[in-house]
Amino acid sequence: MFRPVLIALLLMSYGPSLMAEPEPEDVYSFDTREQEERFQNLTSELRCPKCQNQNIADSNAPISKDMRAEVYLMMSEGASNEEIVGALVGRFGEFVRYKPEVDRRTILLWATPVIAVVIGLLVVATIVIRARRYGDSEPTLSNEERARASRILAGDDSDRAS
């Protein structure tokens, strides 16, 4: 009677250990909280060249593991963030940056959102200005139409087009 419940409980207790865990050799220890956060930020801004839509913090590809190890090694040697990213870009190319540097090649990439918002604002502004200009000067209904409308609303159907 209780056996199915027991088996279910046993299976649940096994659950976590069946899940994928990072390999022990890939666990890094840090002296301070800031260093750990710095490592997390760096690895989440670097892109895996093999599995191209993942950052190296999330990717399990061997190359990402090597890149994480390099980031850790350079950090422990006292390298700055720019030096670390620069070293990886020097090997794997601009591709590994999720945040490309602003230069002639990437300026459009950075400017497009601004350009799009400006164009959108211009369109909205034009529409609003036009609506004001024409909306005030020309009443929607002429006096004659207004009179006809009130007749119809009053229930006098004789005016309605048949």
């Binding site: 060249p49 093999k50 590809a61 090997r91």
Partner: protein, 178 residues
């Protein structure tokens, strides 16, 4: 004047169309190497066949070579191996092998059984040179000129078609410069 504005969406669509069409058919998995035009990174690694012999970038000096990154764990490397043997034996191309993240014994058995297209074999069990080269998946093949400068990288299998279209013209061009 107003009519002209009506054509703006068409213009945008055409420009975007041309721009996006240029991207069709490009394989996003093939990245240009960051080392094109730069020398092969410094290394000091042992010869696959002779543990005591140390190799440096000097192995590339004086001749145009292909640098082929491979490992026995890599199925696509098995796939291209016969073509590499064909290049080395029939075409007389100098190929330097970089045995990448592999085990020396397994690699030697592989070369013994399938033939050895490599004039020099570099043994890189920890993938240090591979990492410095920006290798992100074997097999990769580089064209290195006579001065040890990286000229081209091909990611993936080298076969007759890749050789004729991408690699042979480059090899011939840099051979003329020597």
């Amino acid at each position: 004047m107003k009519r002209v504005f009506l054509f703006i969406p068409v213009v945008i669509a055409v420009v975007l169309g041309v721009f996006l069409f240029a991207g069709i058919g490009k394989d996003p998995n093939k990245l240009e190497s960051a080392l094109i035009g730069k020398p092969v990174p410094e290394f000091l690694l042992s010869d696959l066949h002779d543990e005591g012999r140390e190799l440096t970038p000097d192995v590339f000096k004086g001749q145009v070579s292909l640098l082929n990154v491979w490992g026995t764990w890599c199925p696509a490397c098995r796939d291209e191996h016969d073509d590499l043997v064909w290049l080395a034996e029939d075409k007389g191309i100098r190929i330097v092998g970089l045995n990448y993240k592999d085990n020396r014994d397994d690699a030697l058995v592989w070369l013994d059984r399938l033939g050895d297209p490599y004039q020099v074999s570099i043994y890189d069990p920890r993938g240090r040179l591979g990492f410095d080269l920006g290798v992100y998946g074997a097999p990769e093949t580089y064209v290195i000129d006579g001065e040890g400068i990286v000229r081209h990288r091909h990611v993936g299998v080298v076969n007759e078609k890749v050789w004729e279209q991408d690699i042979e013209p480059l090899v011939n061009r840099y051979k003329e410069k020597i």
